[in-house]
């Protein structure tokens, strides 16, 4: 009998322990009487052993070098995070000043309209109106939330904070919250400006932001 006639697939199944108990016993019996299959099985095991001989433990010096490289990377990552937290705090302070100025300007001028980018996202989330070009939004996608769909909009420049928005934190990320009719708004301010909007409770927006890894 040749290996072809003996069925290579069954032989492979046998060698990799893929056959069920009955089939394995049958093939085992066949193997004892078939020189071709027996030779194929022996070659398989020899080849496996030879290939396995190329496995080697990493030398201590290599492990030390790797440990050092990872240590440096971890320190660098820690430094970057600290810098990022500092710049987020600075951005928060700037945003607070801008918001305060905006409130004063709005009061003085009697204008309470939202910044264009925010208004566009509210229209999209509340009434399904498509975003107008020039709204400053570079990417929009939809996230799921228990009470309904949530629009997630990303912008290269920070979404301006409406005058009546309030600051809070989600995890360690600074966010601002606002409400427009039945639409809740939550804007993650850093590392990138992401505005979530939808006819859902504010708490759900915070959960969505966390679930999609938008907050740190």
């Amino acid at each position: 009998m040749t290996p072809d006639r003996c069925d290579e697939r069954r032989l492979v199944g046998f060698l990799f322990g893929e056959l069920d108990e009955v089939d394995a016993a049958l093939f085992d019996a066949h193997l004892l009487g078939c020189d071709a299959c027996w030779a194929a099985a022996v070659e398989d095991r020899r080849g496996e052993h030879a290939a396995g001989s190329l496995r080697e433990a990493a030398p201590d010096a290599v492990r030390d070098r790797l440990r050092h490289a990872l240590d440096v990377a971890a320190r660098e990552q820690h430094r970057r995070r600290r810098r990022h937290r500092r710049s987020a705090a600075a951005a928060l302070a700037v945003a607070a000043v801008v918001a305060a100025i905006g409130t004063q300007v709005a009061r003085r001028s009697g204008r309470t309209g939202d910044p264009a980018a925010v208004a566009a996202v509210v229209s999209l989330a509340g009434a399904g109106r498509p975003l107008a070009p020039g709204a400053g939004v570079v990417q929009v996608w939809q996230a799921r939330s228990p009470s309904g769909g949530v629009v997630v909009a990303e912008s290269q420049t920070a979404f301006p904070m409406p005058a009546d928005a309030r600051f809070t934190t989600v995890g360690s990320s600074q966010v601002w919250l606002a409400r427009r009719g039945r639409v809740s708004l939550l804007c993650v301010m850093a590392p990138r400006s992401v505005l979530l909007a939808g006819p859902v409770p504010e708490a759900e927006l915070a959960s969505v932001a966390r679930a999609y890894g938008l907050t740190s």
């Binding site: 990799f16 893929e18 496996e48 190329l54 496995r55 433990a57 030398p59 290599v62 070098r65 990872l70």
Partner: protein, 171 residues
């Protein structure tokens, strides 16, 4: 709620696996060291996005991608260093046994290099890196049955090549 394991906890047991693979994917020990380091630094940087699962398969795929990127970069620039065969420090107290071991190892490496690429790569993933057939199939983008067949045929061819070279199997 179970806590996510640390990077060290996830990768600690995989250093030897990645090292063995890196040795196969590079020409010398220096390049293998660079590839090992590149692999773990990439893994460290991407650990936040890792969704769990088999850490070995995750690292092996990163290692393969890193090796591919390095090869691409290398082909785009002239060779900077002569391909010198540097003596590696002996890993054994018995220099004679160590030399024989290395000779056999060199023969196995040469024979493995003579296999068709798809058989060689599959053997590197399954028999040397210790990936499961399914993980190797995912990494190579082919059915699991194809992986098993390639490993089997590659092993047989390897055994025959070594027999021709006179390498004894001590198993």
């Amino acid at each position: 709620m179970s806590q996510r394991p640390s990077f060290e906890e996830v990768v600690a047991a995989q250093v030897d696996v990645v090292w063995s693979l890196a040795r196969r994917l590079t020409r010398d020990r220096g390049e293998a060291e660079d590839l090992l380091q590149d692999t773990f630094l990439r893994a460290f940087a991407g650990f936040g996005r890792w969704r769990g699962g088999d850490p070995r398969a995750w690292l092996v795929v990163i290692c393969l991608n890193a090796a591919r990127d390095t090869a691409r970069r290398a082909s785009a620039r002239p060779r900077e260093v002569a391909d010198m065969a540097l003596a590696e420090p002996a890993a054994s107290d018995d220099p004679c046994a160590e030399t024989l071991r290395r000779l056999d190892r060199d023969r196995v490496e040469r024979a493995l290099g003579l296999l068709p690429p798809e058989q060689r790569v599959t053997i590197e993933l399954v028999d040397i890196a210790g990936m499961t057939a399914q993980a190797a199939a995912d990494a190579l983008g082919c059915p699991r049955g194809t992986v098993l067949a390639r490993v089997h045929r590659g092993r047989r061819r390897l055994a025959r090549l070594l027999e021709r070279e006179g390498v004894r199997d001590d198993s």
